[in-house]
């Protein structure tokens, strides 16, 4: 117990007495965490945009009157088993009529022509997928002989270009987000690692003295690891505070700027995911802080 107490005391002593060194390492780590936090907020927002967009896209397969109920239900259950299919909604003739009548764009005269007794509107399946490529699969499936002669039309062909464009666009945005986040994270890790390495090599003389006085391996190493932990912890506190203030500031200023809509989207996501974003920063901060201390001691110090 006394030993643990002394090791912790040694870490705090070194952290606060080497003020400038600790401040530099903490600030560099803060920058790294800021880029991690910002990447996270932006990528969560981008994902939200992509998801909203995907939710708005669907295809509808319309059936001829001679198609049997069981055939439609068969197709529905065939589609439901696929993991990428989010929902398949059956549209009966009555549903189709109700939707048709509620459409504001339909003229009153036309609306009155279609009645429950004389309803030419087809039955259909409204299909929504989390993956745009799945729509092409559906289009292929209904071309099969079992279905082809009963399918009246499908909105896939009409929406094909739109679906492909959105699909390519979202894929590009997702990949770009991932690449940019990784790029920033790797760069900041390298910078942090080198800063901590510098801090440890700056102290290598002290480590040599400790060894000569008879300090054991743990007595030398563990305080440095705790110091690395402190860099990570303080950096997380600073970066979380900066992001929090930054978001609040953008929120209050954005009403008169062109970023207003983006900020409107970003703010609720940040507050909603606050603990997740902070948790990731703590983990990354402590991991980089402790990890780079550990690697530096291993590399710089012959114990």
């Amino acid at each position: 117990m006394l030993r643990i107490q002394r090791i912790i005391k040694a870490a705090f002593l070194s952290f606060f007495r080497n003020g400038w060194l600790s401040l530099t390492a903490t600030l560099i780590l803060t920058l790294a965490l800021l880029s991690v936090g910002a990447s996270l907020v932006i990528s969560l927002s981008t994902n939200k945009i992509v998801k909203d967009l995907k939710d708005k896209v669907d295809i509808v397969v319309n059936f001829k009157d001679e198609a049997s109920e069981s055939l439609i239900q068969q197709l529905k259950s065939d589609l439901m088993v696929r993991s990428n299919i989010q929902s398949v909604r059956y549209i009966s003739k009555e549903d189709a009529l109700r939707e048709f009548k509620s459409r504001a764009t339909v003229k009153t005269e036309v609306r009155e022509l279609v009645t429950p007794d004389d309803n030419p509107l087809p039955r259909g399946l409204q299909i929504q997928s989390v993956d745009f490529d799945e729509y092409a699969y559906v289009a292929e499936l209904i071309k099969k002989p079992a279905y082809a002669s009963y399918v009246d039309s499908s909105s896939y062909e009409d929406n094909k270009l739109l679906i492909e464009n959105i699909s390519n666009g979202t894929k590009f945005v997702e990949r770009l987000g991932l690449v940019l986040s990784l790029f920033f994270i790797v760069i900041s890790m390298l910078v942090v690692f080198n800063t901590v390495k510098l801090a440890v090599s700056f102290k290598s003389k002290e480590i040599e003295i400790m060894r000569l006085v008879g300090a054991s391996d743990s007595f030398v190493r563990v305080p440095f690891l705790i110091e690395g932990f402190l860099y990570g912890l303080f950096a997380t506190v600073i970066s979380t505070a900066l992001i929090f203030v930054g978001i609040a500031l953008m929120d209050s200023l954005s009403q008169s700027t062109v970023f207003a809509r983006f900020v409107d989207l970003l703010t609720p996501i940040y507050y909603q995911e606050f603990w997740f974003i902070t948790g990731v920063q703590v983990l990354v901060g402590v991991f980089i802080g402790v990890g780079s201390s550990w690697l530096s001691i291993r590399k710089n110090v012959k114990i």
């Binding site: 002394r6 002593l13 007495r17 080497n18 003389k205 006085v213 008879g214 300090a215 007595f219």
Partner: protein, 233 residues
């Protein structure tokens, strides 16, 4: 002389150490007995510092054997090494003090690593500070002290855990004659209390004044060993 004092505390036998193709030590043998004060002299490159590095197990010899208190230190594992060093007192030319710790904390560190109790630390440090005439400097940092004072802190740290052997490598190398004499006096006082002192030095005046056992080294060999010797290289 009792039975234990008839056996050497430090036994260096046929020790050699090579750096590249150069022999820093070549077949050096030396026995140091309890309570002895041994001064190691010789020109630069004679092998004094190498011998000291081997004795504090900073390095291992390429050949030969070194026993301290009956234990072959060349066979110590890295886990055993800290325990061995806690039984030595080591003083260096450049003091090797922890710059971000006060005088008190530097000395306490030597006790903390060996799990000494707080009570023990509080009791021992004032005594050792008094022995090296540093009372009142407890809260100073090393850079607030003169060279002589820093070296006295280093000696206090080496002594605080009551080692059997004190090894000093050029402790007066950076000091003026007055401070050097003070250090020599402290080392003699320590030796009088029963601690073996091994002092490597270039300081002719110091060696001639002390009239102790003088071991002369040259080109990695021990060429002379005289009781109550003088500086002869």
């Amino acid at each position: 002389m009792n039975e234990a004092e008839r056996h050497p505390l430090i036994e260096v036998k046929d020790v050699s150490k090579k750096y590249g193709s150069n022999f820093a030590l070549s077949g050096a043998s030396l026995n140091i007995f309890p309570r002895e004060f041994v001064i190691l002299v010789g020109p630069s490159g004679a092998g004094k510092s190498t011998l000291i590095r081997l004795l504090i197990r900073e390095e291992k010899p390429d050949g030969g054997r070194i026993r301290v208190a009956g234990r072959d230190i060349t066979k110590l594992s890295s886990r055993e090494l800290p325990y061995y060093r806690r039984n030595l007192g080591i003083v260096f030319q450049d003091y090797k003090l922890l710059p971000t710790r006060t005088v008190w904390e530097n000395i306490a560190y030597a006790l903390e690593v060996s799990d000494a109790s707080e009570e023990d630390i509080q009791k021992r440090i004032p005594k050792v500070l008094a022995a090296v005439n540093l009372k009142g400097k407890e809260k100073d940092y090393p850079d607030q002290l003169s060279g002589g004072e820093q070296q006295r802190v280093s000696i206090a740290r080496a002594l605080v855990h009551l080692p059997k052997v004190l090894i000093a490598d050029e402790p007066t190398g950076n000091l003026d004659p007055q401070a050097s004499r003070e250090i020599a006096d402290i080392l003699e006082k320590i030796n009088c209390q029963g601690t073996v002192v091994l002092l490597a030095t270039h300081n002719r005046e110091l060696v001639d004044r002390m009239r102790k056992r003088v071991v002369v080294m040259k080109e990695g060999k021990i060429i002379s060993d005289q009781h109550q010797g003088r500086y002869t290289c």
